[in-house]
């Protein structure tokens, strides 16, 4: 319980820190582009909307601590301002409409990469110096050294443009209405294969090497020798004895890697014009839509922190030593 509370404290501080970064950035920014932005939109904004922008970006004359309190209040009540690039839709609605696609893309890719990567790591460590162990680590390190978005570009070019196996970009065929029919779900899956596949390809190496290196340590433990001496089947020793104990670092790495997957999904979305948050973020950056940029940053941070917290709870279940401490 103490462990969980301490972690929760961490996440709250982290969220507070990113809130503060968000609060400070526009106020420290030289040149006052927000003022210019407001000037450009003078005719289209209502007085109440202008008032809200002033709150968000500190263009009013109130003391800074009062602005800070107001800002935190706004964030927790979901008032993140109005998107200037998709005027007059509130930032919260823009994000809400796109978040699902990002979760679908990132979640699928993460799940496949974790399961596959760990399995490969287990097998490679078990047959030290075997084909898998010699061939895969260098190969995956090589693939992993490509930037996410470059692998995505190559995959898009090869599989969608040249070979025409998969559709070019988007999350579903334009013009079809989203529904839960088998046809639409099939369409979504066909659009998902290449973007998710690129994220898997790039992140697989990290999982495999991590698992392999812990497995090598575990495989040398005395209880493995003992299990062998008892005459247990090799498969049982591998999964139930060695791999099970080597899993813990992977669980921790899972929490850490969610942030990376978010980043990878963002860039992949940009390349594939996949209608998730990352694609939205790019559009926000290009049209200097500061409220949307900040809203997306906060949403992603919150999502990553919540995911990490859930993993901590899982960790406590998995590792009894944490509970005792």
């Amino acid at each position: 319980m103490a462990f969980i509370l301490r972690r929760l404290g961490y996440y709250l501080i982290a969220f507070w820190a990113s809130l503060s970064i968000n609060f400070m950035l526009p106020r420290l920014m030289p040149g006052d582009p927000v003022g210019r932005l407001l000037g450009q939109m003078q005719g289209t904004l209502t007085d109440a909307q202008i008032e809200q922008f002033r709150h968000l970006f500190g263009l009013d004359d109130r003391p800074i601590w009062l602005q800070y309190i107001q800002y935190i209040q706004d964030v927790f009540t979901g008032r993140l301002g109005i998107s200037t690039s998709q005027f007059p839709v509130p930032v919260v609605d823009v994000i809400g409409a796109q978040l699902g696609w990002t979760i679908l893309l990132g979640g699928t890719a993460l799940l496949i990469a974790v399961v596959l990567g760990n399995l490969l790591g287990i097998w490679a460590a078990w047959r030290r110096g075997g084909l898998l162990d010699r061939l895969f680590p260098p190969l995956l390190v090589f693939v992993g050294s490509f930037p996410y978005f470059f692998i995505a570009m190559i995959a898009l070019y090869l599989f969608a443009v040249k070979l025409k196996w998969f559709p070019i970009g988007q999350a579903f065929t334009l013009g079809t209405a989203p529904s839960f029919s088998g046809e639409f779900i099939g369409d979504v899956i066909r659009h998902l294969v290449v973007p998710a596949g690129t994220i898997v390809a790039v992140s697989l190496g990290g999982w495999m090497l991590g698992m392999r290196n812990t497995m090598i340590g575990t495989a040398a433990e005395d209880y493995i020798t003992m299990a062998r001496a008892k005459g247990l089947r090799e498969g049982r020793i591998m999964y139930r004895y060695a791999a099970r104990n080597a899993m813990l670092p992977s669980v921790t790495a899972f929490g850490m890697s969610i942030g990376f997957v978010v980043g990878g999904a963002l860039l992949t979305e940009v390349v594939f014009a996949y209608p998730g948050i990352g694609f939205q973020l790019l559009r926000a950056v290009q049209s200097l839509d500061y409220p949307l940029m900040q809203g997306i940053f906060l949403t992603l941070t919150a999502a990553v922190l919540v995911a990490n917290f859930l993993i901590d709870i899982l960790y406590v279940r998995l590792d009894p030593r944490v509970r005792v401490r």
Partner: protein, 314 residues
């Protein structure tokens, strides 16, 4: 074992210390360098790296003139006149690649060095002083590790004025935490060693102990952290510029990719405009990863000595 040896003998050398390098730290590093040179993978990595650095330094000689000037018709596929073809604006792709290596390598190594330096300072301070200072610095480090990197990078880069300085600052802000954590863990185990306590008792100043006694014994960790930071720097710079958050008029591998996508190379199938820059980033990262991998195996006996371990298992 060698780490401990050099540590305890260092106590005798630094007890009568004068300003200057510790006596046996260079020997330790030389040994590491020598063993790396004997490793086939590390050698491959070093050769690739050296080629890139030489090309970057000699860019004005190899490819004179402004790489942004149109030298041919647009979108020509690779030919003898233009080995890697031309972009849709008629720029020579090879020239862009060569000149781009300057910015990419320059920023990558600057970011790597600065992020490692910050990580070292925080990690060593944290481990040496312990208690409240350690608690505070660990919280700060963990927070930077928790906040997703790319979104933070993007909003920082979007709000600050564009330019190479901003990119370096932003990448160091988001990149130092990982190295601080690794350094702290290693320094913490050194902090418990007797020779550090001995140094404290003899009245060495904290900074001297950290830099003279602890740092030389972490050479391999520092080295692999630095390499990882450089990989991060090059990749993240390219990512930012690909999104259009850098100075798009400058020539770098990231901006090459940005222009390639913006000019629709993917859809039009002009692969030669985006493959070279991406491959260059990957090749550099790969070479650094190879060196890193070899440093790991050379310094960590558990991962090395494959033949010996296999015998024991059979």
């Amino acid at each position: 074992m060698s780490v401990q040896n050099s540590g305890s003998s260092m106590l005798t050398t630094t007890a009568t210390s004068q300003p200057g390098a510790p006596v046996n730290a260079p020997r330790h590093r030389n040994r590491l360098a020598l063993r790396l040179l004997r490793d086939r993978r590390a050698l491959t990595g070093l050769v690739i790296l050296v080629i890139f650095v030489v090309v970057a330094l000699a860019a004005p000689l190899i490819s004179p003139g402004n790489p942004r000037s149109s030298v041919a018709a647009g979108s020509e596929s690779p030919s003898f006149a233009h080995l890697l073809g031309t972009t849709s604006k008629g720029e020579d792709v090879l020239a862009l690649l060569i000149w781009g290596s300057r910015s990419s390598l320059g920023i990558g190594f600057t970011v790597g060095a600065l992020a490692t330096l910050v990580g070292l300072l925080i990690g060593l301070t944290s481990a040496y002083f312990g208690r409240a200072i350690d608690d505070f610095l660990s919280v700060v480090t963990n927070i930077f590790l928790l906040i997703p990197g790319l979104p933070l990078l993007i909003i920082l880069a979007a709000f600050l004025p564009p330019g190479p300085g901003t990119i370096v600052v932003v990448l160091v802000i988001t990149g130092w935490a990982g190295s601080a954590r690794v350094v702290r863990a290693q320094a913490l185990s050194l902090r418990g060693k007797d020779y550090i306590d001995a140094a404290v008792v003899t009245g060495e100043r904290p900074l001297t102990i950290m830099l003279r006694e602890m740092l030389p014994n972490m050479a391999s960790i520092v080295m692999s952290t630095f390499l990882a930071c450089v990989i991060f720097g090059i990749g993240a710079q390219a990512g930012l510029e690909f999104l259009g958050l850098g100075d798009v008029s400058a020539v770098s591998w990231g901006t090459n990719l940005f222009w390639a996508t913006n000019e629709g190379s993917l859809i039009r199938g002009t692969w030669w405009t985006f493959v070279p820059s991406g491959a260059a980033i990957a090749l550099i990262a790969f070479s650094l990863a190879l060196i890193n991998y070899a440093v790991d195996e050379v310094t960590n006996p558990r991962l090395a000595g494959r033949a010996k371990r296999k015998d024991r298992r059979r």
